[in-house]
Symmetry: C2
């Protein structure tokens, strides 16, 4: 673009707005978006209409994928942090919400609320990060909108993404299906995203740099579903962390979830940061981790599938579902156990 | 809710966030949203899979509606203005973008970015306005997200809505289809939304209160398509007004669009406000008007369909498409004509 900073007039409907939008469109460059229509056509990914293990020419027309929709707004500060930025985050968050439904992402939309004076170079950096992440899924960004607010009425840029995905017939991930005997798997160590943002925000010198785990997980979920189509439920533990997600699932399912503290993977620098600041890693936000609940008999198959994808290489089983009254219980290495309750607020505002 | 103002902790992932979200979910109360999943199932409205005038039992399975997606962010100030508020606007804007594609709205999502300290009563007012407007379409709000930013990093509430719609087979609204001999129809008088926001913002005492035209137009577009399936293109003239939309269409289509100034409907108070402040009504934003381009032979049929819907009761023909080099030309009542160029910026920031 020919200017260095976003101006209020870029938020209008005229030539300047169009130049901003053309700049954005050229970053993402796909047929649906390039049309620059107010509403963009969606292609449902080929093959999703067929149920797993039932692929036959005659059956195709009988099956329709279910369409699911999700949205997330992103207000993370700082906008750039080790391992990611608000652009990457805004694609991962929405793709991962689709993944929790077992969906193959079909399309994303983006709404930008830009603060007057925001450097165009930062905007371009954020957009190309979105593009790179979306391409890695892959999912096209098919439509978008930009608004500009006065200086002091925003904070650089806020991003809202919405996503559409398609779910294969026969896949039904839902907390209602969780039952006694199921196992709780997680795709890797927890707390890295929140620890990364926390250190970046406060300019903490910790000796080591903690990177956000920020990553799209739809590929990991598709790998699981391919071999364990009977998987029960999946959740990405973002705000409120593993504690919030599992408290909610235990309550919805009306079962006890028993976590084994020794098995919960936490990277050493994250644990160190938590120890110093008195934070609970179980409540720390993740942006590239998936909790998958599978039948007890499918633990090995599920873990192998998760580990076959790079972002899931450190997947482990961390707990079991038992009969009970909807509680989350942690078994400590000392043989004792304690009830974990739903976090009340958040440890750190604006982590995503 | 049990508190009067939104707190930063309402943006976390814990119990307080959940209470805020439950409050929102209970406002909209539909099966997809009530599941409170990260990604919500979408039902494509029944019948949209069948092409018009080709309905027969055997043909149904052969036809699929096209799915389209759109998004918009809303930062209007003030949040409440005569004839609407940011909640109503956020539903209308997205529904109307779907309508420009000829789509029947299937689902909406909402992302709220709330400023710390925002009165909960105002939030509830905005949400119930969204609900009322969505019900009138009707379209379910199936998924959402809330974030809270510190005081001074927002302005009350910003709303991002995304929408999915389904387009009947055979309907293809696109600027590329515009050609010589087509007619330009508009669903009523222009400029009311921007005039309403402008007077509300500046507390102008004009003697009369100008109400925003803010309204969902998917019903109007369906009425047109039912009788004029060969309609060429539709646009809602929001930011940049009729001038921006028609300049863009003339350019895309590579035709001249000739407007007849005498036929362009403008309410007297809006014209008065424009005269006093030196604003061009043609550049004023509308939030409840649709420009529809139809073949010249279908003007009467199209207008009758538009007028059959209450929001289109004042529909008129305002122009014609002629051979030419992609320009918008206005014929004045004095027999002269002038070229109208794309507005550069905007007359008023944050009108939507």
């Amino acid at each position: 673009m020919s200017v260095e900073r976003v101006l209020l007039t870029h938020g209008g409907g005229g030539r300047m707005a169009r130049s901003l939008i053309e700049n954005i469109v050229s970053t993402f460059d796909n047929p649906a978006l390039n049309r620059m229509e107010d509403a963009s056509p969606i292609d449902i990914p080929a093959g999703v209409g067929e149920p797993l293990k039932k692929r036959s020419a005659g059956a195709v027309a009988q099956w329709q994928p279910r369409i699911v929709m999700t949205t997330d707004s992103f207000v993370v500060t700082p906008l750039f942090f080790p391992g990611g930025d608000i652009g990457k985050l805004s694609v991962c968050g929405t793709v991962n919400d689709l993944a929790t439904a077992g969906a193959v992402p079909a399309a994303l939309s983006v709404g930008l609320i830009i603060e007057e004076g925001f450097p165009v170079s930062d905007l371009e950096r954020v957009l190309s990060s979105m593009k790179k992440t979306a391409d890695s899924v892959p999912v096209p960004l098919v439509t978008g909108d930009t608004k500009v607010v006065e200086k002091g009425r925003g904070d650089g840029v806020y991003i809202s993404t919405a996503g559409i995905g398609a779910v294969r017939p026969g896949i039904e991930l839902s907390p209602a299906r969780i039952e006694e005997g199921d196992a709780v798997l997680i795709s890797g160590p927890i707390g890295n995203h929140e620890a990364s943002v926390l250190s970046a925000r406060n300019d903490l010198s910790l000796g080591v740099q903690i990177e956000s785990d920020c990553a799209p997980l739809s590929g990991l979920m598709q790998a699981v579903i391919e071999v364990v189509p009977e998987a029960k439920c999946a959740r990405d533990p973002t705000r409120g962390g593993v504690a919030a997600v599992l408290c909610e699932l235990a309550e919805s399912a009306g079962c006890t979830i028993l976590l084994d503290e020794e098995t919960i993977p936490i990277d050493e620098p994250v644990q160190g940061l938590c120890d110093i600041l008195g934070l609970d890693p179980l409540q720390m936000a993740n942006e590239g981790k998936m909790i998958v609940i599978v039948p007890g008999s499918k633990v090995q198959t599920g873990l192998e599938a998760m580990k076959s994808v790079y972002v899931g290489r450190n997947s482990v089983k961390i707990g079991e579902v038992q009969k009970g009254a909807g509680r989350l219980i942690m078994k400590t290495p000392y043989g004792t156990s304690r009830i974990i309750t739903m976090p009340v607020g958040n440890q750190l505002p604006r982590i995503c």
